[in-house]
Symmetry: C2
Subunit: 327 residues, 2 copies
């Protein structure tokens, strides 16, 4: 089997040039690059990576399984994962599961066969055990199993912050737009909201809405039409908050004068709509970065200091709420 | 070396069950799955994929190099690439280049070492030749070299459609917000715009703006303040169109009554802002799907019917323009 020295000799370059080429680090001129590529081909030289994954049964690939990269929450998350992976010398395989268990399982098996070093997954489902033996997994945004390291936003705390802000800005009749039933973060946010309003004499309405603009608009429109005295909406996602803003506009309600609105997520679009959306912003980048670092620590055999990390969200006050007045 | 039959015997399941497990197709029960995984580990069995990539020097991995998944144009593109790859049995490695040549080259070398079967790239740069010998490449959204198969939007035609729509809706004093100089699509759109207004007695202003909300808002604000008679803006991206909308709002200009605005791209956010944005929508999903199919055809040794595909964009009339009146 050809060695790196054979390649260097054949290509008439130094071993360190071949090494730079193979590691993708440092400068390799166009001419040398071509010569090395020819040498590799002619000598049937096997660069380290694939050969190494065959012997160690581990590559430097990380699988990222998310519901849908088109959902505005995930591009920033995926970017953080890729940036962090890149920093540590790993590359990322992107998989969209569409929240289908079968597709998730298919991807997990497919990734296993590629000897991925680890998997980061955002899943709707609860797994009985680590879904893949011997491969480190980190659950991101939503826990999937008690034994699997998890990175989520502190949703309960976030919902308290959002609800308290609405109340401090003078809203007294609140509509809480909760998310789908089976999503943990959605249940946690509801819990935080209920804790926040307790004992404060707030009139509270509760509806369920998917995390989608159009569906949320239709649901909010119908509810606001029947309950015109509502003067504050706390939506458990920015997408539903923006849907509610559109419903308010169609009903000729002024935001924030007649109706104050707070979202949850902190996606870019909230800063682009008019008025700009007050929201409980998750630290999306930090979520992705932390999950990737926790995964790489496991891959490299290090002990995690803790297996469940809750990252605090932060209120961003914009124009869909009035100024807080001290009470 | 262990064979698939050894694994089946050791795990006490049928060969076809092991095969289903290895191919990730069809049902494999939890108990059998675990038994197979143990057998694979104990017998040191090498599933086909990595072994095959070692012998054929080709995997079923496709590299996707894009500037930034956070740019709202790319999630839908990435989704289309991943969907199409999945359909044909390939998986996608996501790489964000930040439009840095060095990062692009690094990824290309890294992907080559993983024996990727092919690469789809959206790059700012012109490459002298196929950047990677022996690996099929498709240029997406922007051409990188005459010899490399390319999928782009028909930008000239799209810009004509957008400019003509503004004129047909009664705008007479147009501001064209062109994109950065070195992007081909940006130059093509300018060409289409100039062709459309020629000989129509239109007063035309031209400024350059990056494809970013905030920068575009600042640039449009300053220009509109100095040139208050402008009654139509054609922005070469939705991001700059939305920036211009915010500038108009700050200047108390009513859209579309005082100022009509047309964007280019068709990203989701254009349908969420108020008023909703009239735009020349690229068929983003079809761009990604076509590029992936062209790449896979090359990977599988088929001849491409044509190497340069221009996909027609389509006008979406929303609320930032008045209705067209026949002239």
């Amino acid at each position: 089997m050809a060695t790196i020295s054979d390649v260097a000799k054949y290509a008439n370059v130094s071993v360190s040039t071949v090494s730079r080429y193979l590691n993708g680090k440092g400068y390799v001129g166009e001419k040398s690059r071509k010569a090395i590529e020819h040498a590799i081909q002619d000598l049937n030289y096997v660069p380290n990576e694939v050969a190494r994954s065959l012997s160690t049964r581990q590559s430097d690939l990380i699988g990222l399984i998310i519901p849908d990269i088109k959902n505005p929450f995930f591009p920033e998350l995926a970017r953080a994962v890729e940036d962090t992976a890149f920093k540590y010398g790993y590359t990322v395989i992107l998989c969209n599961s569409d929240e289908q268990l079968e597709k998730e399982r298919h991807y997990m098996q497919a990734l296993t066969k590629k000897y991925v070093a680890g998997i980061i997954i955002t899943s709707l489902f609860q797994y009985e055990s680590n879904p893949i033996s011997n491969i480190p997994v980190v659950a991101l945004d939503r826990p999937i199993n008690m034994d699997i390291p998890t990175v989520t936003t502190n949703n309960i705390e976030g919902a308290k912050i959002g609800a308290n802000h609405l109340i401090d800005c003078g809203a007294t009749k609140l509509l809480y737009m909760k998310g789908p039933v089976n999503i943990t973060s959605s249940e946690e946010r509801l819990e935080g909201y209920l804790q926040a309003i307790q004992g404060k004499g707030i009139e509270s309405h509760l509806i369920e809405s998917p995390f989608e603009f159009d569906a949320a608009e239709a649901i909010a429109f119908e509810y606001l039409q029947k309950n015109p005295s509502i003067n504050g909406i706390f939506a458990s996602s920015d997408a539903s908050a923006i849907g509610a803003m559109k419903a308010a506009l169609r009903l000729n309600k002024k935001v924030p004068e007649d109706l104050q609105i707070v979202g949850f997520d902190g996606i870019q679009i909230g800063n682009v709509v008019t008025p700009t959306l007050t929201t409980v912003a998750q630290n999306i980048y930090e979520l992705g970065e932390t999950a990737t670092e926790m995964l790489i620590q496991q891959i490299e055999g290090k002990t995690l200091p803790c297996t469940s990390v809750h990252i605090n969200p932060q209120l961003i006050e914009r124009d869909t709420t009035k100024k807080e007045h001290k009470r």
